[in-house]
């Protein structure tokens, strides 16, 4: 997953931890997974609008939303808080590591492109 992160001076911020995922990480939760909790219309997908509502309820901002389409967000990242030049963003990759990266670097075939943010 770090294949496009060569420009980063720092890649891994935290060791792999299967106890939580990217959505949990962005709300400061490190002991559980959060997936469909923001899914307001219960369609099993999380949209940009649903995430905006959910993050507002958690008083969390500065998040980038990644996906192939804006009705199906697959990954979220803090736009700030990364380490190193060109690595201002940070996010957790599923149950794996916390990564410092450029906000555009995790875009690609796996996570899609930035569809929105708050």
């Amino acid at each position: 997953m770090c294949s496009s992160a060569q420009r980063c001076q720092t890649c891994k911020l935290k060791d792999a931890n299967p106890a939580y995922n990217c959505f949990a990480y962005t709300i400061g939760v490190t002991d559980r997974w959060v997936i469909t909790d923001p899914d307001l219309n219960h369609d099993t997908n999380i949209s940009v609008d649903e995430l905006k509502t959910w993050y507002a309820s958690k008083h969390v901002s500065g998040i980038a939303f990644y996906g192939k389409v804006n009705t199906f967000i697959e990954h979220v990242a803090f736009k700030a808080g990364g380490k190193g030049s060109g690595c201002s963003a940070r996010s957790k990759l599923g149950g794996w590591i916390v990564l410092s990266h450029d906000v555009n670097q995790v875009q690609g075939s796996e996570y899609g492109t930035i569809q929105g943010g708050n």
Binding site: F23, T36, N41, H42, I73, L93, G94
Partner: protein
């Protein structure tokens, strides 16, 4: 003395009868061991790709080819996989795997345990959700979904099809997933309910159509016949994915295929 012996014999017979009934209930929903091989391979691939996040768990277009193939093979089984998932839920103790399994259950059979549970994280509620589900499954409730839903659920649709559908209003139907299909067909035979049809769409995995439909049900599948035709086409095209579910298969076949 004789009375006591008679009583004991009766008690033994009753216990035996109970055991036979339980076994019959389970054998009608037996686990196919070929599915277990597919399931184990999918799990092995999931473990090897810990970077996958929830929204990607059932995608067939992300990750290495081994993972894509394993996911494709698993999903291709369809609702016939349900009894195996139930057995896995019965014995799994790892929280992450339990969590993964309740999402798999929803994906495979539309049986949704986690919407409408109130202001708690699904993760925290997972053990309790599983415990309640297993108890309900073992009681035979899933094979009696038709009669149970008739009393457990009230259709919020008053016939004014232009209104939006509240996702929470159809949660009771979604708890039964594909096992609610006979109820859905029967209900739609009686009245043109957009709420019931919305439940059908999401239970059968038509999430995009469902999302559009609940926002404006008056613009899609307006006529009762349109709704029923859609369901019958789905049943015909997917019969091989639920044909090992015993009585459920028989009921869906009678109502939608024959």
């Amino acid at each position: 003395m004789r009375k006591r012996e008679t009583f004991r014999t009766m008690a033994v017979l009753l216990v035996l009868l109970f055991l036979v009934l339980m076994a019959a209930s389970r054998s009608a929903q037996k686990v196919d061991q070929d599915y277990k091989v597919v399931y184990d391979e999918w799990h092995r691939q999931m473990d090897a790709n810990p970077w996958l996040d929830g929204p990607q768990w059932f995608r067939t277009d992300v990750g290495p080819f081994g993972l894509r193939n394993a996911t494709r093979n698993l999903l291709s089984i369809g609702p016939n996989l349900t009894p195996l998932i139930v057995e896995e839920l019965r014995t799994e103790t790892d929280r992450y795997r339990q969590f993964l399994l309740i999402y798999l259950l929803n994906k495979i059979s539309g049986v949704n345990l986690y919407y409408g549970i109130g202001d708690v994280y699904v993760w925290d509620a997972t053990p309790e959700l599983i415990k309640n589900f297993i108890a309900k499954w073992d009681s035979g409730a899933y094979l009696r979904a038709n009669e149970l839903l008739a009393t457990e659920w009230k259709d919020p649709d008053d016939g004014t099809i232009s209104r939006k559908i509240d996702p929470n209003s159809i949660v009771p139907i979604r708890r039964y997933g594909i096992y609610a299909l006979p109820f859905i067909i029967e209900s739609l035979n009686q009245r043109n309910s957009s709420a019931v049809f919305a439940a059908y769409l999401i239970i059968t995995g038509e999430s995009d159509q469902y999302a559009k439909y609940i926002e404006n049900p008056s613009t899609m599948f307006q006529a009762q016949g349109d709704k029923l035709s859609h369901i019958k086409a789905w049943a015909r095209n997917n019969e091989t994915k639920f044909d090992k579910l015993g009585a459920l298969h028989t009921r869906i076949k009678a109502a939608a295929i024959q």
